[in-house]
Amino acid sequence: MSVASTSLDSPAAAAAARPGVRRRPLRPSVDRAALVVLTALWAIGVLLPILSLVVISVLQGRGLSFLWTVSLQPYADILVSYRIEPVLRTLRIVVVITALEFVLGFPFALWLAKGLREGWTKSILIVLLIVPFFLSPAARTIVWRPILGREGLVNILLTSTNLTAEPLDWLLFTEFAIHLGLIGPYFPSMVLPIFISVSLIDDELIKASRDLGATPMQTLRTVVLPLAMPGIAAGVVFTAVPMLGDNIASTLLGGGQVSMIAEGFDDLIRAMNYPAAAALGTTLLVAFAFLALCIRFVLKRLGTGFDIFEGMKG
């Protein structure tokens, strides 16, 4: 219901309009000043401290006393297979789960926003998606153990119905358990942003598309998807990023058999090896910057401006 006048803009039209956007008269300078001031504060107060990690990562030291000599030892410490493998493993798991969340979450968010009348059912579903944020992740993750364990619920069911002769060992302390444990907690972070962005799409727009003879699939592809893109992008970020740092599922469900990034960081910091922790962080930053550049390059070659500003009104 928000942007009534977007009515007949197809993404193609929007894209066509983009290059030649009429640069609108600049908004009052107060707005700009606010942006400049906030960004400056952010750069000095937040980005600068974080960049100081790069400095720390080439120092030597233990605890809070650093030797002010440059050393690449921290990088040598982390560029070993048992530090890199967990990073790659984590990335793989995060990509898989994020994709899975999208498959599970997008249709659901769409239905929640456009297929369900406002009422108690809708309210309760939305609330059910919000409540888990309030709960201690550790407490609700460890409860998987009596469910998945050797003598847990699932195995009792399987063996008592003679589906398997022996209890299954791989239900717990495996990558399977971690995947299973991650799907639930990160579902709301995928659904909610998509739900918001789809809710914002004017019903009239979808009706118009239908009246013009589009099939639901066509409407979805040409109307809903482009307009929901900011929500999808936000959903992916909301889901993938916190999952990268998740140390609960890997610890409690991996049982030390599947090591992931977050544990590595926790351990380096617990060992007060701050330079190595900083080096690992810096490596991660560089890897992401590289990845972002690659994606940008590829998209440029393909000629699509696939970003969240897509569908923006020029």
Binding site: R62, Y82, E85, R145, F173, L252, G256, L268, A271, M272
Partner: protein, 398 residues
């Protein structure tokens, strides 16, 4: 059409938005006030002792402390096993300015002594201190080697592993077992669990040392090459499928026993008590080869030693060395207090039940049996922490 929709949107949301804003605004104004109130309490009034320590230090409540010393206790639990966070709390957050007593896993405080954060104890102000056994006072986790006393032992214990005697067909304690059962046994393959932190490496080191399989000086404080040897051994066992899981927390230990994940598990003694109470037939092993000895100790931070309530601080500290605390703790957690002799006196004087007195006597015996092994004390912070951590990462990833 557009106009109508906008107008509708306008009325719908301005109201609710205003509401939300008002709530958030009120929160913003009220919070700092509440928090400041919270902080102010940190400057305690006369006669209050502020202590920071592991949650296990605390009895069910502090009424006994308050009754016996006439002081108030304000206890702040801290995650003492996380040494990095603890050092940060003391060195960076200056916990000494907010606390009168700081409890740590003994051994951790030795670095703090070096850094000048710990006040030297005036043992003449502690009635119950002198009679503590020298093996404890001069144990490697307490003694810095300068003939001075820095930290008071609150309680100690010697750890081993829990096991199912029936299922395994093994004898019950005090009949001794050995660590092969946990680390190197066909019978328990895939059904044992181990610590998920540095202590696993130390156990590996102790195992190798006790069997003469490797030259290891102090398993609790290994050099880089020693710790690599220990990790190699553990990785070999891990690849052989020995371990079902590595744990980090107490609730994991309990869950592993109850959900049938393990037959043998390296764990804390209270975890065994917890599952016994659930009716499981689990025992805490007595071992013939070694035990892991640990201690919780408490020091006075330098900042506190200059405050005017220092006499009260010593009075509080002395209480922890008295019979009341040791007796209560022995029954509650099975840990050994510094002065079990006083504990026995206290329990008899108070007319405790025979069952409880037996628990105290069991503790006195435990000191004689379990602590007769070579002194494998673990002190939380080995000198080459980075090497331990690296090898632990390697072990976990294997």
């Amino acid at each position: 059409m557009a106009g109508k929709i906008i107008r509708r949107a306008g009325t719908l949301t301005r109201r609710s938005f205003g509401k939300g804003l008002a709530v958030a605004g009120a929160g913003a104004v009220v919070t700092p006030a509440i928090l400041r109130g919270g902080l102010k309490r940190a400057h305690a009034q006369e006669g209050t002792i502020r202590m920071m320590g592991g949650p296990t230090v605390a009895l069910e409540d502090w009424s006994l402390f308050e009754e016996q010393t006439g002081l108030k206790m304000e206890f702040t639990p801290f995650h003492v096993d996380d040494v990095g966070a603890l050092y940060n709390e003391i060195l960076v957050n200056e916990a000494g300015e907010r606390f009168d007593l700081i409890n740590t896993l003994a051994g951790v405080q030795k670095n703090l002594v070096e850094q000048g954060m710990v006040a030297e104890l005036d043992t003449s102000k502690l009635e119950n201190y002198d009679a503590i056994a020298d093996t404890i006072k001069r144990s490697p986790v307490l003694y810095v080697g300068d003939d001075k006393d820095w930290s008071v032992p609150l309680y100690y214990n010697s750890d081993s592993f829990g096991y199912f005697p029936e299922k395994l067909g093994l004898p019950r304690p005090p009949e001794p077992l050995d660590w092969d059962l946990l680390l190197n046994s066909e019978q328990t393959l895939g059904q044992t669990a181990l610590d998920g932190d540095n202590i696993a490496l130390m156990i590996g080191g102790m195992y190798l040392k006790s069997r003469g399989l490797a030259e290891i000086g102090d398993p609790a404080n290994m050099t880089a090459s020693e710790v690599e040897t220990a990790a190699d051994f553990l990785i070999e066992r891990k690849n052989a499928g020995q371990f079902r899981a590595l744990w980090r927390t107490y609730d994991e230990q309990v869950a592993n026993f109850v959900n049938g994940e393990v037959l043998v598990q390296r764990c804390w003694e209270p975890a065994v008590k917890e599952v016994q109470a659930q009716g499981l037939d689990v025992e805490y092993a007595t071992c013939s080869d070694f035990h892991i000895n640990w201690m919780h100790s408490t020091f006075i931070p330098v900042q506190a030693a200059e405050r005017d309530n220092v006499d009260n601080i010593y009075r509080a500290l002395d209480w922890f060395l008295g019979g009341g605390y040791a007796a209560e703790l022995a029954v509650l957690r099975g840990y050994v207090g510094s002065r079990m002799d006083l504990a026995l006196d206290y329990a008899q004087e108070k007319g405790w039940s025979e069952e409880d007195i037996a628990k105290i006597q069991a503790n006195i015996e435990k000191v004689e049996t379990k602590f007769s092994n070579p002194d494998y004390w673990i002190g939380g912070a080995p000198d080459d922490l980075a090497a331990h951590d690296a090898q632990m990462a390697r072990f976990r990833n294997a």
